[in-house]
């Protein structure tokens, strides 16, 4: 961590707290409830909402509901929004981050469970929809697609994951530092990020979580677009370098 330490604004305040990183694109309807849900937990959470070029009042509503709001000048896509959040986390000196959806599909009550493995030495934890808890269902073609990806990822990551595209994750300081510098930018970023972390030698774990169905709106998955991204992800996964980026155990902070 010595070379990737917080560059500015690190305070006792931020090192002890947990940053919830929440990308938001036109989420003014869902934001107040989502932020209120985070409010209600007993955890020391700060929230940063990254407004990814919304055309509604996302930014104002985020600020009014007690979140820091970072406004991107134009739409970068979820990967860019997340990297902005990671960078903000590192610059502000946070040592723990949570990736959390603005649309209300994640349950704030499960954040504690997502953080627990970090205390036991994990670098990154994925909340899985399919590892047992809950009854989240996806369509058939999507299920097949996810199976293929799961197989490819098992080969590349050398580890089995039941839910590779879950956007409910927690990160320790070293993973935050890596993602602040380099994070996959395109659709299905979460899959690539998972493989990146595994291939960098980080301790990545998975825990079962329950997720709500999307409250409003339609998941934007038209089949051609999905197919294109599918092939693209498989190609870029195959090209993910295996680089040990994890600091030695001796040098790693507790």
């Amino acid at each position: 961590m010595s070379n990737t330490g917080p560059s500015l604004a690190a305070t006792q305040h931020t090192t002890d707290r947990i940053l919830v990183i929440m990308p938001a694109f036109n989420e003014q309807e869902a934001l107040p409830a989502t932020l209120a849900g985070l409010h209600a937990t007993a955890l020391p959470l700060d929230v940063v909402v990254i407004d990814d070029g919304s055309i509604d009042d996302t930014a104002a509503i985020a600020a009014a509901n007690g979140a820091v709001c970072l406004q991107l000048p134009f739409n970068l896509g979820i990967g860019g929004a997340l990297r902005t959040g990671f960078r903000y986390a590192v610059e502000s000196g946070y040592r723990r981050g949570i990736q959390f959806d603005a649309d209300g599909q994640h349950d704030p009550e499960q954040i504690a469970a997502l953080l627990a493995p970090l205390d036991e030495g994990a670098d990154m934890v994925v909340g899985s929809r399919f590892a047992g808890a809950g009854a989240y269902r996806v369509g058939r073609s999507r299920g097949i697609a996810m199976n293929i990806l799961r197989w490819a990822i098992r080969r590349l990551a050398g580890q089995r994951f039941t839910d590779t595209s879950s956007g409910f994750r927690s990160f320790g300081p070293d993973v935050l530092a890596m993602f602040a510098k380099e994070y996959p930018i395109e659709y299905m970023d979460s899959v690539e990020a998972l493989v990146m972390a595994c291939r960098a030698g980080f301790d990545v774990r998975e825990i079962p979580t329950v997720m709500h169905e999307r409250s409003g709106g339609v998941a934007s998955n038209r089949s051609f677009r999905l197919a294109y991204h599918y092939v693209r992800v498989l190609v870029s996964l195959a090209n993910t370098p295996k680089v040990r980026r994890r600091p030695d155990a001796a040098g790693a902070p507790a």
């Binding site: 305040h13 707290r17 007993a42 955890l43 700060d46 991107l72 000048p73 960078r87």
Partner: protein, 141 residues
């Protein structure tokens, strides 16, 4: 190739080089890109200036219809130039993205400073008085 074709080629090449140099002088074209095109131009000058060269090379390479060689070389060079553009474009997109991210963070810090708060999330008492509890992002205990 016939003499007429050579004259046409020479005129075209001269015109292209003239346009490139003009664009560079007016700073409409970065010198590094102009180099690419001038190389292509120089190449064509040689072909236009030495009438027998293309036919001779084609014969050596076993190409029966000489103009194919010209088209082949042109395609190869254009491909290289296009690849170079893809490379430049990727690099540029990366930089634009990074700038956008940076600007979002800086915008927040400037707004926090202007409202009299701390640019950080700091609320640990060492910051300037008057740090508003809202706008810090803190929602836990």
């Amino acid at each position: 190739m016939s003499t007429r074709a050579h004259i046409a080629l020479a005129v075209l090449v001269a015109l292209a080089i003239f346009v490139i140099i003009r664009l560079v002088r007016r700073r409409h074209l970065k010198a590094k890109y102009s180099l690419l095109w001038l190389t292509l131009g120089g190449f064509m000058v040689v072909i236009a200036a030495v009438p027998g060269l293309l036919d001779w090379t084609a014969a050596r390479l076993g190409i029966y219809y000489e103009p194919t060689l010209l088209i082949l070389l042109g395609l190869a060079l254009l491909l290289l130039i296009v690849m170079h553009f893809s490379y430049e474009l990727s690099r540029m997109e990366n930089r634009v993205r990074t700038l956008a991210e940076e600007s979002a963070i800086l915008r927040h810090r400037v707004a926090a400073l202007e409202s009299g708060g701390s640019p950080s999330n700091g609320t640990d008492g060492t910051d300037a008085p008057g740090t508003a509890p809202d706008g810090t992002g803190a929602i836990g205990p």
